[in-house]
């Protein structure tokens, strides 16, 4: 409760107690008080939060939806468009990635990329890293994820690229922002970031015919120890998986190592979302599961480009999709953290195309 102030209007003292009803109902309303007196005085007004149960302006499709955790959706602003002159992927207008569908139906083999193609993806990887770092540095208490989306959108456009998520199967925004119990595919909206949140920002750029995909989870303000451990665990899971990547390694081997590490820390691994091949297509073969004992097909070969993006949960691995048909949340409402890189297999191992160039994540967040 450190740093939280009493919710009684005009009190301003540090909070020491929390309303038990708010805790039971998993409400995100101001529920901390400095003393029993303040709580009793403010009670007639405070209890109205309990009656409502849910914020007033909940989008209509969420009516009667039983949320798994405290997070609630807010308003989503109209979709932005890429300006003239930006090269568009095939789904940018019609929302359906036709080339991906075709490749999927044919169960297309893993693509061996040429050195020229890899050079484009190397430059693109650097650009996408810059964009993610801009978003990561901007994310602060009080800022909305919508504002972050504007920052990402503009940073992508400035670099002459297209924000790949925009209108991909009608995804309405230019990046994914996944807070707390959101596993992935959170839609940027008008909810302000709060002290103690963990926020994943997932950025993908499309440029010169190729995609590059990466994400990181940021600690917003003061995150509790368990939250920090969760984020650190997700970070380590990605690191150890990347270290295994070299010609001959089977894609299925990564999941065994990731799950072993996560379980050891008391965390679970999301199974319904996987890493994926990437290149001229946003998502293609191979499928890269993060859970153990998977039967994924394929061995790594020089020139394969794919993502690894373990999602690690505080509680159950099971997920549930919000009625917005995008936001994937944990089935028990507990938090989830994720990190992602795009990498290419080389003769001697792999090259992380989206690697950090400006200081380490651990230095910034954990030291």
């Amino acid at each position: 409760m450190e740093g939280i102030l009493c919710a009684s209007p005009g009190c301003g003292k540090p909070a020491k107690l929390q309303c038990p009803t708010c805790v039971n109902l998993k409400l995100e309303t101001p529920s901390h008080f400095c003393s029993q007196e303040c709580f009793k005085t403010f009670w007639p007004l405070h209890k109205m939060y309990h009656q409502k149960g849910q914020p007033e302006n909940l989008p209509s499709q969420f009516r009667n939806y039983k949320f798994t955790g405290p997070l609630r959706p807010t308003n989503i602003t109209p979709m932005r468009k890429a300006p003239e002159g930006i090269e568009l992927p095939d789904y940018a207008i019609g929302s359906i990635p036709i080339s991906e569908r075709v490749a999927d139906r044919k169960n297309m083999a893993n693509i061996i990329h040429t050195p020229e193609e890899i050079e484009i993806m190397r430059q693109l990887g650097k650009m996408s890293r810059e964009v993610l770092d801009i978003a990561g540095n901007a994310a602060k208490v009080g800022m909305t994820t919508e504002e972050l989306d504007i920052i990402v959108h503009n940073a992508v456009i400035e670099r002459g690229a297209y924000p790949s998520p925009l209108n991909y199967y009608k995804f309405p925004k230019s990046c994914c922002t996944s807070l707390n119990e959101v596993i992935c595919h959170g839609i940027p909206d008008e909810r302000p970031l709060r002290d103690g949140d963990i926020l994943n920002v997932d950025v993908t750029l499309y440029w010169k015919g190729f995609h590059s995909d990466l994400n990181e989870t940021y600690l917003i303000g003061n995150v509790d120890e368990r939250g920090k451990n969760l984020v650190k665990c997700a970070y380590d899971c990605l690191e150890l998986a990347v270290a295994m990547c070299k010609p001959g390694t089977l894609y299925r081997e990564l999941g065994d190592a990731i799950q072993k590490h996560a379980n050891k820390q008391g965390f679970s691994v999301v199974k319904n979302f996987c890493g994926h091949g990437i290149g001229r297509l946003f998502h293609c073969n191979p499928t890269v599961p993060h859970y153990s004992k998977n039967k994924a097909v394929g061995a790594m070969k020089v020139g394969h480009v794919f993502t690894i993006e373990p999602m690690i949960n505080e509680g159950t691995w099971q997920d549930e999709i919000w009625p917005d048909s995008w936001t994937a949340v944990t089935a028990d409402g507990k938090r989830s953290a994720q990190f992602e890189h795009t990498l290419v297999i080389t003769e001697t191992g792999c090259e992380v195309l989206t690697k950090r160039t400006n200081g380490s994540y651990i230095d910034r967040h954990f030291k």
């Binding site: 081997e253 965390f267 199974k271 599961p289 859970y291 153990s292 004992k293 061995a299 159950t316 691995w317």
Partner: protein, 396 residues
Amino acid sequence: MTEVTNSNINKKVPVTLITGFLGSGKTTFLNYILNENHGKKIAVIQNEYGQSIGIETAMIVDSNGEKIQEWLEFPNGCICCTVKDDFLQSIEDLLKRSDKFDYILIESTGMGDPGQISASLWVDEELESPIYFDSIITLVDSKHIEKHIEKSKLNSNANNNNNKKVDDEDIEIHGTDIKYYSTEVERQIAFADIILLNKIDLLDQSNLNNEIKTITERIKSINPIAKIITTERSVVPLDKVLDVKAYNPNIELLKEYLDQFQKGQNSNNQHQHQHNNNEESSSCKECSLTNTSNHSKFINTVCITEDGDIDLTEFNRWIGNLLWEEKKDCIFRCKGLISVKGQDEKYILQGVYATFEVLPSGLLWSKDEKRHNKIVLIGESLNQNELEQSFKNKLL
């Protein structure tokens, strides 16, 4: 916490894939399941192209223009629906229904490749799916199987005019491109866990035992590890063919399979030589010496038996390399008992097409037992020496 719990397989609904050639009795088998009083609640998902049950199934279109499955209910509690191609979607729809089913049967049409479908049905155990893949059952028309397998040979043998005439009649009956007939039938046999040798009542009853023996040997030359059951009019005690858990890492079951291979191998040991694809069957002296000859010239079985231990990662990579690179699309099934370095448990290999897994069996190597590996591979034009040598190189 969340130590991932392996869900209890007994609570899950088994799924069996039924394949079989036109005229093999698949229709009769499915009708038997949907209409007889066998005491099980079975859901049958039938491919639209099959249409074998001959029931008008209305496809309902909802307001979004999407097709909704309609399930036909039968007096014995079974239900049936017809789908275009998305079996998994219809299974999901089925599981959303409030009524519970003991079993799901999926009929794949004569032209469907059982390998592709079974790979999508064989869901990772970790995903805790409410279904599990039980087995592939292939129905075989024992009266016509010889001819079906014979066909590719006859097509390339212009001298055999008499037989060819008989075949032409068959072409009319079945009405499909005959060139792909034998390949298809052989592949269906090669993929099977269980083979129902159907229509034995139509065989020459005065010489029944010999006829069955000949056909069984023929089938074993294509797939020596499948369980073969003879039936009349597709009537078979369901307990014998359903819920066999063919993909469980069950050492007893594997032993049964491998023992069958031993038998098959012995009865066909004169056919262990290799055939090349471009080799005319008549030019093979070894085969022409024997009475029944080796007719599955495209499909063969390799069995590797070696003492010693192997590193689990190395073994996975070796099998992966065979299935995905070196023998890509040419290995249909694999099964094996594996001795993994540093593990007291016996490990089991299971594979269908490009999908495979190697899992501990739960049973230990006993002290007086020699640790060994035994791997059976069924596929197209596999070379015993080459594969054996390749495996030996990986042994520790």
